[in-house]
């Protein structure tokens, strides 16, 4: 994320504009250096600028994918920690379970903010966003599963199944 900030326009202290393509010498107080022909620069000026923009967009989307994949490492770490903590009721394991629940929730809340730097009309952020959400949901599921709140067992589906209706009816007993 630090790297991403470096390319932002707002972060520059000074700048040299190499893309000044005005041909009139009157506009400049400094004469052209000897051997410099302005015409050749003018020739491929637009191509260079496009190239630059493309590179930036590429870089942005690459970064966005990286950011989107970041929770995966988190997930692995969480899983490992939970495995280490075991299933006993313990202050440590309670803490881990709650952090496993809290992290994905807070991350999901801030989805827009995380991907804001890579906003660009040329960059498609939908894919990374979806991946990011999916991975966080996975983390949340891991936490919920630890709490036993996911219906992953047969018992979760049959626990309130009413008894089957009986076809036959029989009554009687010892005569009155």
């Amino acid at each position: 994320m630090e790297k991403g900030k470096g390319v932002m326009g707002a972060g520059r202290r000074w700048a040299v504009d190499f893309s000044d393509n005005s041909t009139a010498p009157s506009s400049r107080d400094i004469p052209d250096p000897p051997g410099f022909t302005r015409a050749s620069v003018d020739q491929d000026d637009s191509a260079v600028s496009r190239q630059k923009k493309d590179a930036e967009a590429n870089w942005k989307s690459q970064k966005a994918w990286e950011v989107a994949q970041a929770p995966f490492k988190n997930l692995l770490m969480m899983g490992f920690m939970m495995w280490m903590a075991g299933s006993t009721v313990h202050l440590f394991s309670i803490g881990i379970t709650f952090s496993a629940l809290w992290q994905p929730i807070s991350a999901l809340q801030g989805v827009g903010k995380v991907f804001e730097p890579y906003k660009d009309n040329k960059v498609d952020l939908l894919g990374p966003k979806l991946l990011f959400i999916a991975l966080n949901l996975g983390g949340l599921a891991l936490g919920l599963n630890t709490l036993g709140l996911l219906p992953t067992h047969a018992s979760d589906w049959v626990s309130s199944l009413s008894p089957a209706q009986e076809v036959e009816y029989s009554g009687g007993g010892i005569p009155l």
Binding site: S93, P163, A164, S170
Partner: protein, 982 residues
């Protein structure tokens, strides 16, 4: 994994586990208790001394009780054992109640004021005979003496300590002693009786030492029957066995002279068989024939004269000596809706000492017994009070032409109980009379709040308690939201139906069933049972609910049946049917017609099934289910259980389309030399089961085998069917069966060697709990059997369950032969049992508790978790989390879990549980001689606030919080403003 969910569950349960008892101030809020004594057999007044006037009564339920003569409340009461029948009671020395019981073998003296036993002596003799108790003021050597004739022996017993002073045997084999007389002021005793039914015997005995002074006998050509009536101190009257000749026998100075008078001489029309009633009014006796009661006076030497002949139902009291040498007796006659009480002096028939007419509730039936007592009015004339016992077993005290008090002692012999809803509260009907006004409501809540905040003074606390106990809310006559207010409909042995309000136990209505009354067509009516006939809900709400009373005319099983339909709201009998067939079984079917009348199948002695109600609609709905209806009968005498299906129409009577023949399908014949059926149990028809799955540790599932056609049968070795300890463990065993009653398949059979009955069992959901005696361990045991359906066990694929691709909800047939497994376990239990029941909730979600009627006549709640066959000595962690209790060899009895708290339900017979509308709560009604009712929440009332929850406190808290929010908001605004100005 899955720890966290269990953390909550664990804390939840651990916080919830221990206290299920009541606080002291909660007694009487939800429960009520009523005490009864039963039908009075004999009553003796104690009004001589100053102080509290009382009456001592012995009843047919073997109770001795003293009642307050002013209000009819019980001072004290003793329940003798079921075999300890009271033969006679009397008061001796003005301070002891003397009772003779157990066929004259036990004589006891009780202290009159407090009911403590003073002494007891057992009187044995050479042979069994009619027990007679005589307490005159006989004094031998300054000792007051009781003369008791029992077991063929005449005993003189000291009043002071119960010591037998002398005894005289009458060993002659055929002698039947009928009377023991001690003429006042004389020092001898006459023992009168019949020998070989045709010889009159008279023994004159010295009262001081039991010496035989004289023995005379005279032969009579006919045979004697029954009673002799003593008409004077030396004359008796007897009837011969044909009931047509009256014998007057006098034994003046030891000489017997007799005279025969044919009854037809006294009466013009031949009266048929006569019996002598009420033998102890001097000079007068009465004979009763089918049509009339005839009073006959003895004049001079054996001459008889009819003084009155009444055709009404007439009851005569014993003679009461009112002054020196003067006796009086009372007559009670019915006349329309009132009764006439007449007290006459014994010597003069035509004059009356008292004649009163008292308006009497028709629902009490005829007068059965009358006991009188006199008192001296302020003008020194004699006043009389009469205690009368009615046909419905109620007891009334009459004085000065009015009913002073009445006791509904018929409720001591309840046969069956069912419940009914109360009427729905209609919008138009104002309940403002019972509703408190706003001010009082507020006052009540302020008081409650004071109580909560511990600011209340003792008077306030008393006021709060009074308010809680007398809450009008619980005794309203309308349906309530929680389903706590209901009508308990109780059928008593006397054939009376009572509607009791569950809120406070008051009698809402009571009716003597006319159709089960003695009549020409039905001479000996017996009430059998009570069923819910119509329980309207949903679309038939405007109908009143009704109950069905089934009776029969006569004690034999092939006597004709009687049906009576009674409206539950009013208690009025709106329809009755005299059946043309007998009633052997009544089977309520799980089908109703459009007015919610339940279809019933009545099986007669010839195994024909009759469908009721007899409407075309009923038969239409029955036809569609015809092939699925089966019935079974358990013949406990022969050890045969048979199952039947219905064939088409009865072959015998062509016209009756509601009659069906039965076809025998299966039979289980138990070997009569080794097994005798002692107990059966089935599931309650109205029991709701929430789920078919049982979740066990590690998220695993077991499927319960839930079938309403399950029958539990317990058999014992025929030798071992007697008392506990009558056999050795080797020759005693108990076999239990679980039988499917559709196919006759024995699902489970288990033998308990060395065990013996009596067995009490309860079947619910997929388990049965039963109680028996283990002869080897010399202790009572309780066992549990749980039955699971193994053929469903492989329904464990989550995805199949998610998409609903399973057969768990499809209808099951008993013919599909489900593979079952059973689990069982046994535990020791301290008490012997009188009754056992299980809590019943409306949806069956709440965990179950067993309600155990202990031998001490209390009701004990025992969590079903203690009777879980999966208990083990060291349960795994997961099992502990599931709530499995480590195995112990005996079941704990937690003193706080007696739901009857400090009360006793004397003579406890059965415990009835009814579901309230609130899922957490069961209504429990226990009856025997006493009645007890309470609300019981097996897992506490998790779905409602407790009754003592302070709404006022909640309200105040909310108001304070809102106010605080406003205040702080204003303050913060002001501060912000100041900050900005700075």
């Amino acid at each position: 994994m899955a720890i966290m969910s269990f953390i909550f569950v664990f804390f939840f349960f651990s916080s919830l586990q221990p206290i299920l008892s009541l606080y002291e101030d909660q007694v009487g809020l939800m429960d009520w208790h009523q005490q009864y004594i039963g039908k009075v057999k004999q009553a003796v007044f104690h009004t001589h001394k100053t102080g509290r006037k009382r009456v001592v009564a012995s009843t047919e339920q073997n109770i001795i009780a003293t009642l307050d003569l002013r209000r009819g409340e019980i001072f004290w009461r003793h329940v003798l054992g079921p075999n300890d029948v009271v033969d006679g009671i009397d008061i001796a020395l003005g301070k002891y109640v003397i009772t003779l019981s157990s066929g004259g073998s036990i004589l006891r003296a009780w202290n009159l004021p407090d009911g403590q036993m003073v002494w007891e002596s057992s009187l044995h003799g050479p042979k069994h005979s009619k027990p007679l108790l005589l307490t005159r003021n006989l004094i031998i050597e300054k000792d007051n003496v009781l003369i008791v004739f029992s077991n063929g022996r005449l005993n003189a017993v000291s009043c002071i300590d119960g010591e037998v002073l002398w005894k005289k045997d009458f060993e002659e084999e055929s002698l039947e002693v009928q009377q023991v007389i001690q003429p006042p002021g004389s020092g001898f005793i006459y023992v009168l009786g019949f020998a070989a039914s045709s010889q009159f015997e008279m023994y004159k005995i010295n009262a001081k030492n039991g010496e035989l002074l004289k023995h005379e006998s005279t032969a009579f050509s006919g045979r004697f029957t029954g009673e002799v009536s003593l008409v004077s101190s030396e004359t008796v009257v007897a009837l011969d066995s044909t009931g047509s000749i009256l014998l007057t026998i006098s034994f003046h100075n030891g000489k017997i002279s007799s005279q025969q008078t044919p009854v037809s001489n006294l009466l013009e029309d031949s009266p048929g068989l006569a019996v002598i009633i009420h033998p102890s009014v001097t000079g007068i006796f009465a004979i009763k024939t089918d049509a009339a009661t005839i009073f006959i006076r003895v004049i001079g030497e054996g001459k008889l004269e009819v003084v009155e002949k009444t055709n009404h139902e007439t009851v005569v009291s014993d003679a009461l000596s009112i002054s020196e040498g003067q006796q009086a007796f009372a007559l009670v006659q019915h006349a329309g809706s009132s009764i006439h009480l007449t007290v006459k002096p014994a010597h003069d028939w035509d004059s009356n000492l008292l004649k009163e007419s008292i308006k009497m509730d028709q629902q009490r039936g005829f007068v059965h017994k009358v006991f009188i007592n006199n008192y001296i009015r302020t003008d020194r004339s004699h006043g009389f009070r009469a205690l009368i016992v009615m046909e419905d077993h109620s007891l009334l005290l009459l004085q000065q032409g009015a009913i002073v008090w009445s006791r509904e002692d018929g409720l001591a012999s309840i046969i069956d109980v069912t419940t009914s809803e109360l009427p729905v509260e209609k919008a138009g009907v104002s309940v403002a009379k019972v509703e408190l006004n706003l001010f009082e409501w507020l006052k009540g809540h302020v008081l409650k709040l004071k109580g909560t905040l511990m600011l209340a003074t003792p008077e306030d606390i008393a006021a709060i308690q009074h308010m809680r106990l007398k809450s009008s809310e619980k005794s309203k006559m309308t349906r309530d939201h929680n389903g706590f207010r209901k009508l308990l409909i109780a059928l008593t042995r006397a054939g009376k139906l009572f509607g009791l309000h569950t809120g406070d136990g008051r009698i809402v209505w009571s009716h003597l069933l006319q159709s089960l009354h003695k009549s020409e067509s039905c001479r000996q009516p017996i009430v059998l049972n009570l069923y819910q006939w119509q329980v309207p809900h949903h679309h038939a709400l405007d109908e009143n609910p009704s109950v069905l009373v089934v009776g029969r005319c006569g004690p034999s099983s092939d006597a004709l049946g009687v049906l009576s339909l009674v409206d539950s709201y009013t208690g009025k009998e709106f329809s009755s049917l005299s059946l043309v067939h007998s009633v052997a079984q009544v089977i309520p079917l799980p089908y109703t017609d459009s007015t919610e009348q339940r279809l019933h199948l009545l099986i007669d002695a010839d195994k024909h099934a009759h469908l009721y109600p007899k409407t075309p609609e009923a038969i239409d709905s029955f036809q569609s289910e015809f092939s699925n209806v089966y019935w079974y009968s358990v013949d406990d005498d022969n050890g045969i259980i048979k199952g039947y299906a219905l064939k088409t129409k009865c072959s015998s009577n062509v016209a009756d389309e509601f009659c069906f023949d039965s076809r025998e399908l299966w039979s289980i014949v138990l070997p009569s030399e080794s097994e005798k059926i002692i107990t059966t149990a089935t599931r309650k028809l109205n029991e709701a089961v929430h789920t078919q799955a049982k979740l066990i540790a590690d998220q695993d599932v077991m499927y319960k085998y839930i079938s309403s056609n399950l029958l539990f049968v317990a058999t014992v070795a025929p030798k071992a069917s007697g008392e506990i300890g009558s056999v050795t463990p080797e020759e005693s065993w108990l076999v239990v069966y679980l039988i499917d009653t559709v196919t006759g398949r024995v699902l489970h059979r288990m033998t308990h060697h060395g065990s013996q009955g009596p067995v009490q069992a309860v079947l619910s959901e997929n388990w049965v709990v039963y109680h028996y005696f283990n002869l080897r361990a010399h202790r009572y045991e309780m066992s549990v059997i749980e039955i699971y359906d193994q053929s469903r066990a492989d329904n464990k694929d989550v995805w199949k369950l998610v998409v609903g691709n399973h057969n768990l909800t499809s209808p099951v047939s008993s013919y599909s032969r489900a593979e079952v497994i059973t689990k069982s376990q046994s535990y020791f239990f301290t008490h012997s049992l009188k009754a056992i029941a299980v809590t019943l909730t409306v949806k069956g979600i709440t965990s179950k508790q067993l309600l155990i009627g202990t031998i001490g006549d209390q009701v004990l709640a025992l969590d079903k978790r203690f009777l879980d066959p999966r208990r083990s000595v060291n349960p795994k962690q997961a099992e502990r989390e599931e709530g499995i209790i480590p195995l112990t060899d005996s079941l704990p009895i937690i003193p706080q879990s007696y739901i009857t708290h400090s009360l006793r339900v004397e003579g406890l017979q059965s415990i009835i549980t009814v579901a309230a509308k609130l899922e957490s709560t069961t209504l429990v009604f226990a009856h025997g001689l006493d009645l007890f009712f309470t609300h019981y929440a097996p897992s506490r009332t998790y779905d409602s606030l407790t009754e003592d929850f302070s709404y006022a406190l909640l309200l105040i808290t909310i108001v304070v919080l809102v106010a605080a929010i406003f205040v702080t908001w204003i303050l913060s605004q002001r501060k912000e403003l100041q900050d900005r100005w700075r």
